[in-house]
């Protein structure tokens, strides 16, 4: 460390501190208002080509960030943007518009990803 100029050491420490503050702040935001995720059980979903229209309808709902389907289970995971919420009635209507039936609607444990 003796070979490193004092000014450089000071700058490195400052950057390290800034990074720590940023991570802490981000975690605080996550804990305060995590992105909501909902698991929709969709009946009648039985082939890949069916999935497109359903996902498109769900993605068009306000606040939806992404939609992920597991065809085998008939479960569609809807991930919302931070601060957004999904009403069951809206989800049911979107599923119905796509030509399928909503059999289950559940908010699942929060997290940044599935």
């Amino acid at each position: 460390m003796n070979g490193i100029p004092r000014r450089a050491r000071a700058a490195f420490c400052a950057l390290l501190g800034l990074a720590a503050i940023t991570v802490t702040a981000a975690n605080a935001v996550n804990e305060a208002e995590p992105a909501a995720r909902y698991a929709l059980r969709v009946d009648g979903l039985a082939c890949p080509f069916c999935v497109y229209g359903l996902e498109k309808k769900l993605r068009s709902l306000p606040g939806v960030e992404r939609v992920e389907t597991n065809l085998e289970d008939g479960v569609v995971l809807v991930v919302l943007r931070e601060g957004a919420a999904l009403e069951e009635a809206a989800a049911r209507q979107a599923v119905r518009d796509a030509g399928f039936s909503l059999d289950g609607f559940e908010r699942v444990a929060s997290g940044r990803g599935p």
């Binding site: 009946d43 039985a46 080509f49 030509g99 039936s101």
Partner: protein, 311 residues
Amino acid sequence: MIHSSAGEAGLRARLHVLCVALAGALASLPGTTHGAPQTFDTALPVAKGEFVIRGQLVAVRASDDPSPADRKLEVVGGGVVAGYGATSKLALFGALPTLRKTLDVAAGGQRITRRTTGIGDARVFARYTAFQRDGRGRSLRIAPILGLELPTGDDHDRDGLGRLPASLQLGSGSWDPFAGVVATYQTLAYQVDAQIGYQANTKGDDVELGDELRLDVSLQYRLWPRALVSGVPGFLYGVVEANLRHRDEDEIRGDEDPDSGGTTLFLSPGLQYVTRRWVLEAVVQLPIVQDLGGSALEDDYTVRAGFRVNF
């Protein structure tokens, strides 16, 4: 001569059956949104407010002519079908085929080829899902279909030898309503579709083509992946379809034509690869039974290949 050959009426009958089958296949959106039959419709839905486009190429060859005319017929067609989900249960479809018909006959010690190319008769129809029962990874639906074949194809086409015979015209010149019911049972492993349809052909210029009854059944079985993985994998289906067609005799200036009408049963193996966004498919229709009126040409084979895209 072509107009007076013994099998002309039969040929006309055969050609019309082929063209109706072609237009019907193009008009139907098997699966407008799914793995589905390739030669007829399905009861599965088109999402409300969404479009589906289907393109299909069809090649038909018929050459088993017992008469001295030794007729050989080829029909190559392509077309685009658009489907729109008006509601979650009501889907509207429109189809416009393009046809190229070639007839090769022996006449006066030489062979004569007559050919025409252009758009055929368009079809518009509506399909309403009257019954729907969904479960996890499965669905049973029944949907009546009502539609109309429009006389958009040229029925007064000519070549260097004069006006083409009715068998080679691209259109029927008549407004022909049709109706049917399609039922679909779909699971993650397989799908079964069945359809019954009837087309009431009306009078064109001089000819009133016979009405047509069709019965279709299709089985699609998932060949790959054998075991489902998470997410939405592409499916490869093996397809077997059966198509029964019966058409009444034509009427020419009020008289029934004995060389027209008849019954044909096709067995049709094929493959279909289905993803979220698109479908690629191909099927070969092989005639198993052909009981045609008079001296009609019998089919050799029909090949269909196409794609579908979700928008």
